[in-house]
């Protein structure tokens, strides 16, 4: 182990970075899409310290212009969202999580008529089986549709409110 650390330091000194090894659990290896999410399942996402305002994550650091990417906890660990083959790409970044049950299922909330349904969707990648998205669609439709600006702002703020910090960001 000590030899490994020493040689890693030497490589770094010489400006050579070593590729990290992707954990086996991240590889898809022919596994199917799993559409089932339990309410307590965690969804992980990386973040930078700049988006922590007095100890809480601000929704300003989250975008719904496209479906936000997350890793589902059923098939991954929090730190997997910081994994990169390019060493230290996410050094100092943090990881936050939401439980599936913390994501609003539809917006706007009553008494207004819901116009968007929100929920997690498993979208596995070859190198990241746990990859999922927080999906938003118009009621009674399937395709992703970014919520209206006001609804998006409320959704982002709600998720900021409910985010749990799993790994604290240093940078």
């Amino acid at each position: 182990m000590a030899v490994k650390i020493q040689s890693k330091r030497l490589w770094n000194k010489l400006g050579i970075t070593l590729a990290s090894e992707r954990p086996e659990r991240m590889k898809r290896q022919g596994r199917p899409v799993d559409p089932e999410f339990l309410p307590a399942e965690k969804l992980f996402r990386r973040y930078q310290r700049t988006h922590i305002v007095d100890g809480v994550f601000t929704g300003v650091g989250l975008s719904f212009e496209d479906a936000p990417s997350v890793n589902r906890g059923k098939y991954s660990e929090a730190a997997d969202v910081l994994f990169s083959e390019a060493e230290e790409e996410f050094a100092g970044w943090g990881v936050l999580s939401w439980q599936v049950q913390q994501i609003p299922t539809s917006l706007p909330e009553p008494p207004e008529q819901p116009r968007f349904t929100i929920g997690p969707k498993h979208v596995p990648l070859e190198n990241n089986y746990a990859h999922s998205e927080v999906h938003s669609a118009r009621v009674n439709t399937e395709a992703y549709c970014e919520p209206d600006k006001g609804i998006r702002k409320i959704l982002r703020a709600t998720l900021g409110q409910r985010a749990i910090i799993e790994i604290e960001a240093q940078t």
Partner: protein, 170 residues
């Protein structure tokens, strides 16, 4: 109307003329340093100076965000554009010193700039977007967030800041 703690002294005014003349050399540097020290002493405690420093600091943070590259969050976030920067600067202009002291300036993952406030469990932000719009939100603890609409006009920005002031407290 904020007042200077002390009226500006004559030699300070003279110094500014000298300073603007861009005099060089050892003697000029020594004089510049000495006079800068005096200027700092004279303006210490000035409400104007304090505000000016706070605005400057906040403005520098906004300018720094304009240098972000696209994908700065690794999820494809655009960098803040000129419209978002100008609107954020306009909001700063209407902020009072206590707000300028509290504001956290952050890049928006949707493209733009967030001006965030949080005191204890009370949070609020105003977000200037790359499409030129401004929209805010506020909440306390785990209560449902409430939108702060802003039409971009002076009165609207002032009203939004007033709402934030009332929400997070001064």
């Amino acid at each position: 109307m904020p007042m200077l703690a002390m009226p500006p002294q004559k030699h300070v005014v003279e110094y500014s003329v000298f300073y603007e003349a861009n005099a060089v050399g050892k003697a000029a540097n020594e004089l510049r340093e000495e006079k800068e020290k005096e200027l700092n002493q004279v303006t210490q405690g000035s409400v104007f100076r304090q505000r000016w420093l706070l605005v400057n600091l906040a403005q520098q943070q906004i300018t720094a965000l304009s240098h972000l590259r696209t994908n700065w969050d690794s999820y494809g976030a655009p960098s803040p554009n000129q419209a978002a920067i100008e609107n954020a600067s306009r909001i700063l202009f209407y902020m009072r010193s206590p707000e300028l002291e509290k504001v956290r300036i952050v890049p928006s993952a949707e493209g733009g700039i967030g001006l965030c406030f949080k005191i204890r469990d009370r949070y609020a932000d105003l977000e200037t977007s790359n499409d030129g719009s401004i929209l805010g939100v506020r909440y306390a603890g785990m209560e449902a967030p409430i939108l702060i609409p802003v039409d971009g006009g002076e009165d609207s920005i002032k009203a939004a800041l007033e709402q934030i002031r009332n929400h997070v407290g001064e």
